[in-house]
Symmetry: C2
Subunit: 336 residues, 2 copies
Amino acid sequence: MMAHWMRRLALASALLALFTLGAEAGADPLPSWNDGPTKQAIIDYVTRIAKEGGPDYVAPKDRLATFDNDGTLWVEQPMYTQFVFAVDEVKTQANQHPEWKTKDPFKSVLAGDMKAVAAMGEKGMVEIVAATHSGMTTADFDQTVRQWLATAKHPRFKVLYTDLVYQPMIELLDYLRANGFKTFIVSGGGVEFMRGFADKTYGIPPEQVIGSSGVTQYGTWDEKPVLIKVPKVLFVDDGPGKPEGIEHFIGRQPIFAFGNSDGDKEMLEWTAACEHLCFMGLVHHTDAAREYAYDRNSDVGKLDKALDEALTKGWTVVDMKNDWKTIFPPAKSGSK
Amino acid sequence: MMAHWMRRLALASALLALFTLGAEAGADPLPSWNDGPTKQAIIDYVTRIAKEGGPDYVAPKDRLATFDNDGTLWVEQPMYTQFVFAVDEVKTQANQHPEWKTKDPFKSVLAGDMKAVAAMGEKGMVEIVAATHSGMTTADFDQTVRQWLATAKHPRFKVLYTDLVYQPMIELLDYLRANGFKTFIVSGGGVEFMRGFADKTYGIPPEQVIGSSGVTQYGTWDEKPVLIKVPKVLFVDDGPGKPEGIEHFIGRQPIFAFGNSDGDKEMLEWTAACEHLCFMGLVHHTDAAREYAYDRNSDVGKLDKALDEALTKGWTVVDMKNDWKTIFPPAKSGSK
């Protein structure tokens, strides 16, 4: 009985594989990418590592791909989205914090003086993020993030931030998953902020989102267990923190990684040291008309040393202007 | 063409589902569990949450299950396996550390005086673990763990430690995965130690193993990127650290959790607060003849407050002696 059932199962599986293969061969998996060497490099890579019996074959269980988020999967200009959220939260929570009216960086935020905030540098940014990302339960924070993302609009494009993801990268994530990859985000951004949209927006579940994290404390409120976000950094997932975060959260090396800034350099180096044929990619923002053009001199998403390393070592560099047919997904009804 | 292909794919999928269903209905998914209320509680739970259209249905993407490791999935007596490994490593590395001959706790370990080591309590244990779990690359540590696990034998059972996993729990992991669950380990043990065997032994990949972790530092050795394990604790995944670790690594609540000691109490409470129908289980070690019998007064795997809470709240308590038909997997040739 069992043997008979197994034969039938094997037959059905084989048929299923055949149908799926047929579909893949027929359709372009990356329709928003212009034909050319960049698109070809991606398709060649995936074809080689997926070819059973081929010299570069990688078993599906080892097909891990890691992606930076800001500037790699969605827009990061003119200001990191999570920081825009934090600034909005300062305004929302101001009436509960009368002391903010006379204390910087909050005072400048409330006065709308973002130049003064920028002049305070990283210290001011960290204070703003710490104040708005702690002192509540994880569930309440998640709710706040979701509400903000459902309403806040980008200053230039006038659409939701989640509409400003890169359609070519969404197709790349889908293409990799269709070829057996497990996809992860590895970002300097706050992990709980990203988990508020990564599943719906990128198809990446919370446990595959890696980012900078704060400490939480378990306790009970009204006899119900809760986790409280406290203003203490647990882990910074940027620069050398990216391979360290990959080890901490994933425990093995990716074979495919994509970033867009110097903060991704060490993740790409770590990926390049993988045991298999590896793929390292950078998104180069070269399209001021449709998105933004910036690299070596940008405050946000500076791309300098990593670009040099990519050019020296032959990593794939996406020229946004020439390689991407479209930048953003087709407009959704009701999102504007 | 596409529509035709999709119809054929749908047909093949339906056939596949039918065959799989047939197999499940026919076979006992938990053959090493004696029939009775414990086994029935597990099967009833899984059947209810998997029944589409039923009142307790949970979508597959939300079916997360977390398991403690020591004492829940494998033997933890007479000493946590990772600590046995650390003690063996002190002996192996002693010739590189002449200072250990005169310095406790190392001196006592080298003299084989485990009573003296035990008398030093947690402080001594932490020193031994820190000294043997840092100062090397993550790749070298992984290699050392794998070599040790391939040869070290348990003092009572005289087999490899990985042969001392609980067969009924292996079946439970398989049963949950066959019903769409994603299975995780959430243990106080060191994450890199567990990742050395969890994939092969439990079918749980490294990125689904959560545990206590040390800091690693990215750098280059001979121009190759490496991660160095440094003697600094990053995260302790025990007691309240378990729900905190679940948030940190997974970012959402499990609906099913199993533990065996007071260190699992908060994980079970956190699971009990899930939005769906939840399952909380404890392994109670009641079988001195086939394994061990211990609970409220044990130094290793103390089960006291969590047992009271389980009895009060109606969580499932496995009586190892009566509920488990067999304890360990059938002996593998070559493993003795």
